[in-house]
Symmetry: C2
Subunit: 373 residues, 2 copies
C-alpha cells in the first residue's frame, strides 16, 4: 500500500544527530531546570528566538508577544476556547484544514466558507461575506501552501484581507506552519506584517521545518490577547514540554537552520515535481491539480460526478491511498476533490503511487460512466 494520504514531514531529513547533541548539552548544562516545571508562556530563551525568527519575516514583535504551545493544534484549540462562543461566525477558506473545522465546531462556531482561486481566498467574496455576516468574529486563513489546496495568497491580497478585517472589527487567525518550506516563487509577508492594530493572531510550528515529535508550536499576538491566553494555556496543560523547549532552543542556537530548511525544500521540490509530472501525464481527461510553490500537499479536482469516497475504495484495491475532499469543506462539499501528500514518500514511490491512482480513477470513471466536464 502506498499512502499519499497523511500529512507527515519526511523523516529522512530529521536532524537526529544534531538534536541528540543539543539534547546531551541540555542534560549536561541545564538538566535540573529543563526537567523541572516551567513557565506557562514558554521557555524565555526560546520565546526570544521565535520573536527573532518572526521579526526576520517582517513582523514587529518581542518575546512578550510570543507564547510557546504544545503544537499548532493546541494554538488553534486555545484560540477557539478563548474567542469563540456558540453561534459566532468564522469565515474560513473553502476547503481548509479539517482539524481546525473540528475545533471550531467543538466551540459552536457558525462556519462560512470563502471560495479560493489559485491565489487563495478571494477578496471580493470575503468582502461580500463580511457584509452578509456582520456578526463575524474571526477570519481563519492558511496563507502559504494552504492545506489542502497548496494555494498561496500574494502580498497585495494579504494587505487587503487585513484592511477588510480592520474595517469590520474582525480578528484574523493566521495559521502558517508551512512558510519555511517554500521551494519556488518569492516569500510573501505574513498577514501579521500588515497588522498595525493587533488584530492578527499568528501561529506557526516546529513540526514542518524541524520535527513534529517535539510537540511545539507558537503564537505571536498582541499583549492584550496574551494576557488572556497565558492563564488559559496554564489551565490547559500548565506549560509545554520543558525538555523539548530546551532542546529546540539549543538546536536553533547551534545549527544553520537556513541550510537545513533548504535541504527540506530541495527534497520536497523534487517530490512535488515528480508528482505533478506524473499527474500531468496520467490524470484522466477533465481532472486537474493545483501547483503549489511549497508545503506538503496538492489538490486534485476530478469531475464533480466522481464520488471520492467510492473512488477511495477503488484506490485501496489498487494499493494507493489519498484523503477524500469532503472533510475539508465547512459547508457545501465540492465533489470530485481530494488531497495528495508529496512530502513523505520518495520519488519512485510517488511515481508508482500516482500511476496506481490514475489507473484506479480511469477504472472508476469507466465503470461509473463519468464524463469530463
Amino acid at each position: 500500500m502506498i499512502s499519499l494520504a497523511g500529512g507527515l514531514p519526511s523523516p529522512d531529513l530529521f536532524p537526529v544527530k544534531e538534536l541528540k547533541k543539543a539534547s546531551d548539552e541540555v542534560f549536561d548544562n541545564d538538566g535540573k531546570t529543563a526537567l523541572q516545571y516551567g513557565m506557562a508562556a514558554g521557555y524565555d530563551k526560546l520565546r526570544e528566538q521565535v520573536a527573532q525568527m518572526t521579526r526576520d519575516r517582517g513582523v514587529d514583535c518581542t518575546a512578550d508577544n510570543v507564547a510557546i504551545t504544545t503544537g499548532s493544534e493546541q494554538s488553534l484549540d486555545l484560540v477557539g476556547k478563548l474567542l469563540i462562543n456558540p453561534g459566532d461566525t468564522v469565515l474560513v477558506e473553502e476547503p481548509t484544514y479539517l482539524c481546525t473545522l473540528d475545533i471550531l465546531r467543538t466551540y459552536g462556531a457558525n462556519l462560512v466558507g470563502i471560495q479560493m482561486d489559485e491565489h487563495g481566498m478571494r477578496m471580493d467574496l470575503l468582502k461580500k461575506a463580511l457584509k452578509e455576516h456582520p456578526e463575524t468574529k474571526l477570519i481563519y486563513t492558511i496563507p502559504n501552501f494552504q492545506n489542502p489546496t497548496g494555494h498561496t495568497i500574494p502580498n497585495a491580497r494579504r494587505e487587503e484581507m487585513e484592511k477588510l478585517a480592520i474595517a469590520n472589527g474582525v480578528v484574523i487567525l493566521e495559521d502558517d506552519p508551512y512558510n519555511r518550506v517554500r521551494y519556488s516563487g518569492k516569500a510573501q509577508f505574513p498577514v501579521k506584517h500588515f497588522d498595525n492594530t493587533g488584530n492578527v493572531i499568528y501561529l506557526s510550528s516546529f513540526s514542518k521545518f524541524l520535527v513534529p515529535g517535539l510537540r511545539l508550536g507558537w503564537m505571536v499576538a498582541d499583549p492584550s490577547f496574551m494576557k488572556k491566553l497565558i492563564p488559559m494555556k496554564q489551565s490547559t496543560d500548565l506549560h509545554s514540554d520543558n525538555l523539548s523547549q530546551y532542546i529546540a532552543s539549543r538546536y536553533l542556537a547551534e545549527n544553520d537552520v537556513t541550510k537545513h530548511v533548504k535541504q527540506i525544500c530541495d527534497l520536497y521540490h523534487k517530490r512535488a515535481e515528480t508528482m505533478m509530472k506524473e499527474l500531468d501525464e496520467n490524470l484522466p481527461e477533465g481532472s486537474t491539480h493545483s501547483n503549489p510553490e511549497g508545503g506538503m500537499f496538492l489538490w486534485v479536482k476530478a469531475p464533480e460526478t466522481v464520488n471520492t469516497v467510492d473512488l477511495f475504495k477503488e484506490c485501496i484495491k489498487h494499493h494507493v491511498a489519498f484523503v477524500p475532499g469532503a472533510p475539508f469543506y465547512s459547508n457545501k462539499v465540492k465533489q470530485g476533490t481530494f488531497r495528495l501528500n508529496f512530502s513523505n514518500a520518495d520519488s519512485a514511490t510517488i511515481k508508482k503511487g500516482i500511476d496506481r491512482l490514475c489507473d484506479a480513477m480511469k477504472e472508476y470513471m469507466k465503470k461509473n460512466e463519468v464524463k469530463a466536464e
Copy 2:
C-alpha cells in the same frame, strides 16, 4: 526569601544522568520514530508500562484503558471538557487543588464542597450531598496526601465512596499524582480498585516520582470513556510530546524505579519531619498542622480570625512565603488556613523558614489581638 509556597518536586533527586542515557538510546535506536508525529492515545509501549504499573496497584486494566496526556493538568481539562456542562454539580473535597477548581469553573460546574477529617472526605457528608444534589455528575477526589491538606483516605472509605457513587449513578474522578511518594503508613488501594462498573476515571503523572519537565501524565478509564476521550485529546494537541514519551518509556524499562522512589520518599520524609517538629515547637497556641504520610504538602489551621492574606504580607516582611488557604476552597472559605510545601527546600532552609513563619504569626497575632480559639 524562603519559599514554602510552590508545589515543586525536589530537583536534587531528578535522575538527570539516567534520563540522558535513556534519551541517547532513543536518538540512537528510535530517533526518526520518536521525532515523528505519534498516536493521540500515546506511545504504545509506554501505555503498556503504565497499565502494568496500574495493575501492580490492584487495578484491572490493559493498555487499551490507558491514554497518555500532556500532564495531569491536561487530564483534568479533558475530563472537564468532556463531562461537564454548565450547571452540572461536582462534589469536591473542601479544600482541594485550586487548578482543578479553576478548570471546573471554566466549564461552568456548580461546585459543592465536602468537608474532610484527618482521613479525608467524610462519607456521611458525601451521602448527604448526593441526596441534596441528585443532579451531581462527578465526585472529584485526591485520595493520597491530598493537595492542600496532606490527608489520605483509608481503603474502607474509598470502597464506600465507590458504592455511594454507583448507587447515585455518579462518576468519580480520582486524581492520584502523589501515590508513590509515601514515606510512612501503608499503601491504600486506588478508588479505581473498587470499581467494577467503569465509573472511576483514574489520573496520575510522572511529575512527582520522575520529573515534571517531561510534561506527561496518564488516564486509566473504561473503553467507553476512552472512545470519547481520544478524539478530544487529538483535537486538543494531536498527541503528547513524542520524544518525552520514548524517553520515559526507556527510563522505566532500564532503571530500578522502586529504588529511585525510595530515595524521594526518604528525602521528603526527613524534610516533612523537620517541618512538623519545628511547627510543633514554634506554632503559636491555637494553631495546628496536618500529619501527612507522604506527598509534598501540609496544612496549617490558625485561629479563624487570622486573615492569611494579611499574614502573608507580614511573612513577606520576614522573608518567608506560603500559599494562603482561600483559593483552595470551592465555596465558603475557612479563614486562618494555609499550605506549606516541604519537598523543595532542604531541612536547614525549612527550619529557618518555619522559624520566620512562626515569628511572623506571633507578631501578626499580637498586633491584631488574635486569641487562641
